[in-house]
């Protein structure tokens, strides 16, 4: 069955390998350049604290790197969804299932190899991207932000395993390639958004810090912001009188007069007990979060695959 899987997928595998090689070469050239710029500049600019102006790379490469977020989805759509659906649609499963092999084994071996292939591809892409992102993350401290967290480390492997399982499950359930593809796309994109924008913020109890309105030293490293703003002495947010705002928050009534002298707003609010807060997940939790998120997607993939096997067993060919 392994040989059969190889025979059926070798051209797609070759295409994927070629695309990966092209990506790797492009990122290697651009990444080496960025690393060189970073190392020669960092000694000086870090001392001066003006590294923000440093231009590490061409915008096209950043776009390319951000686009790798689609790799897991593409493997699920174009390897996972057709794996079962295309065979059922064209009836070739009747050829495969009448060889001296059980349907269960037929599904297990093919699904196994494709899951492995998707995981390896996503892992390899992520490895290159993570390396490429190194100087940029050091400069901008945004490794934990959405769109960066999602394309580096081990989460792309979890996404790829999930997307592949989703495709296989959809193919088994809907029995036709196009619906299976659409369900994979919608299901994967929807769940990823939900987790990235909401659930991820709550994997662990976030840390809250308070600081003066006048000076706001952010936490060290690339943290993940959960929420931020201004609170009053009782912990309540400021209630404004007019349309005036300070740092995006309404100016409380007691400091209404300070509006005429913008420089006095912050001291006035500080004097009345107002302070800024930041609720965040510290940078030190990056790998814990990577592990939690990968785990969630792998568990979901296992559930989908279990359902696929159950459907295969229950339903007639």
């Amino acid at each position: 069955m392994t040989w059969v899987t190889w025979r059926q997928y070798r051209s797609q595998g070759a295409l994927a390998a070629a695309l990966f090689a092209a990506l790797a070469v492009a990122l290697l050239i651009s990444g080496l350049h960025a690393a060189q710029v970073w190392h020669s500049a960092s000694a000086g600019c870090r001392k001066d604290g003006i590294c923000g102006n440093l231009s590490l790379t061409n915008g096209a490469f950043t776009t390319l790197v951000i686009a790798t977020t689609a790799v897991p989805l593409l493997t699920g759509m174009f390897w996972g969804a057709p794996m079962v659906a295309h065979e059922l649609e064209t009836g070739t499963n009747q050829f495969a299932w009448m060889q001296s092999i059980t349907r269960r084994r037929w599904l297990a071996v093919r699904a196994g190899w494709l899951l492995l292939a998707a995981a390896v591809l996503a892992g390899a892409v992520s490895a290159v991207v993570t390396w490429w992102m190194g100087p940029d993350h050091a400069l901008n401290a945004d490794a934990f932000k959405a769109n960066r967290f999602d394309i580096t480390g081990i989460v792309p492997v979890g996404y790829a395993i999930f997307a592949m399982a989703l495709g296989i499950w959809a193919g088994m359930l809907f029995r036709r390639t196009l619906p299976a593809l659409a369900v994979t796309l919608a299901g994967f994109a929807g769940l990823r958004e939900l987790i990235a924008l909401w659930l991820r913020l709550h994997y662990m109890t976030p840390v809250t810090v308070y600081y003066k309105l006048t000076g706001s030293p952010p936490p060290k490293g690339s943290y993940l912001t959960v929420s931020q703003g201004i609170v009053g002495p009782g912990g309540q947010p400021p209630v404004g009188t007019g349309n005036y705002v300070f740092n995006g928050e309404p100016i409380p009534a007691v400091c209404g007069k300070a509006i005429q002298h913008p420089g006095s707003i912050a001291p006035c609010m500080t004097a009345h007990g107002y302070r800024e807060y930041l609720t965040y997940q510290p940078a030190s939790r990056f790998w814990t979060f990577q592990g939690i998120e990968t785990g969630i997607f792998v568990v979901l993939a296992a559930i989908l695959l279990a359902v696929a096997f159950w459907v295969l067993k229950r339903r007639d060919a």
């Binding site: 025979r7 059926q8 070739t92 009747q94 050829f95 009448m98 001296s100 092999i101 269960r104």
Partner: protein, 312 residues
């Protein structure tokens, strides 16, 4: 006599649709059995149940001494060729031979190559580019290369032109012919569904007739031919005949009556001209009976079924 296939009360429902109802039949060893019946009579369902591709709702089948099941040892014994001739369109014959070699314990790749060479079917072209007849021959060769003990073929002739049909049937007859001394119990047993009775009459020596999801007729063709007669005579009352024999079909014109009867002794009345029917006439007789009497004929058909069942 050992049976290759024995089913009792085999029933399959798909939702509310009854695809096969209370199917009880026996196919003895070494036969080429024709499975005939109208469209939707349950032929494909029966074959799929026997192949283990579907599970029965009720009843049971014993095929080659075991229940059809998902088990490599069972699957190795069965060759099933679906009506759609499933082949991977983008893979060549050579690729298919490779797949078979990897998935079957006793695989005869040389058999496929020899057959394709003798039929001048290229090994290196994608299956999707072959003609319908070539695909059917390739699929049959691949099915035979498994070296199954039972071959189940669902409408293999449907896609073929008359010449290809003849070649295909010749291939089948050849495959079914008893092999050398090493082979136990003769050649391979074949069940083949088809609408083309005239074609399969030449190769089949056993017949199963399904109508309205039920078995109407099952037996060796020689026995069936010997049991039935066509009686032709001036138009008259048929109750006398019906007293001894079983009237399968009755056709009346203004002056003449034609009967297909299942004999139960000699026909004594000399006003009848007695002729031997061919297989097609028998099959059509039973098929039209079902068509004519869905309401009234139902009980009748069941009565006949048990009468037929008796002579196994």
């Amino acid at each position: 006599m050992t049976a290759v296939i024995q089913t009792s009360g085999l029933t399959k429902h798909y939702g509310r649709v009854t695809a096969l109802s209370d199917c009880t039949l026996t196919v003895p060893e070494g036969r080429i059995s024709a499975l005939v019946g109208a469209n939707g009579a349950g032929k494909t369902t029966l074959l799929r149940l026997l192949a283990g591709l579907a599970a029965p709702t009720a009843g049971e089948a014993v095929v080659l001494g075991g229940t059809p099941r998902q088990d490599p040892a069972y699957l190795a014994e069965i060759g099933f060729l679906a009506q759609e001739i499933p082949l991977y369109r983008r893979l060549t014959a050579q690729d298919h031979i490779g797949i078979g070699a990897h998935l079957n314990p006793r695989w005869d790749g040389a058999l496929v190559r020899d057959r394709l060479a003798s039929l001048k079917i290229p090994l290196d072209r994608p299956a999707g580019t072959l003609s319908g007849g070539q695909r059917a021959q390739l699929a049959l060769a691949l099915t035979l290369a498994k070296r199954p003990r039972l071959l189940l073929l669902d409408e293999p002739l449907a896609a073929l032109d008359p010449l290809a049909r003849q070649n295909f049937l010749a291939s089948l007859a050849e495959a079914a012919a008893p092999k050398g001394e090493g082979e136990v119990g003769g050649g391979l047993a074949i069940v083949l569904s088809s609408h083309l009775i005239a074609d399969i009459e030449r190769v089949c020596d056993h017949l199963i007739l399904l109508a309205a999801s039920r078995v109407q007729l099952c037996g060796d063709t020689e026995t069936l031919l010997a049991q039935h007669r066509v009686l032709t005579g001036p138009r008259k009352d048929t109750t006398a005949i019906a007293r001894t024999h079983l009237i399968v079909r009755e056709d009346n014109t203004a002056r003449q009556t034609t009967l297909l009867v299942k004999l139960n002794g000699p026909v004594i009345d000399p006003t009848w001209t007695v002729d031997e029917p061919n297989l097609e006439e028998i099959v059509l007789g039973y098929m039209s009976q079902d068509e004519a009497g869905h309401g009234v004929g139902r009980g009748q058909a069941a009565g006949r079924l048990s009468a037929i069942g008796g002579d196994r």
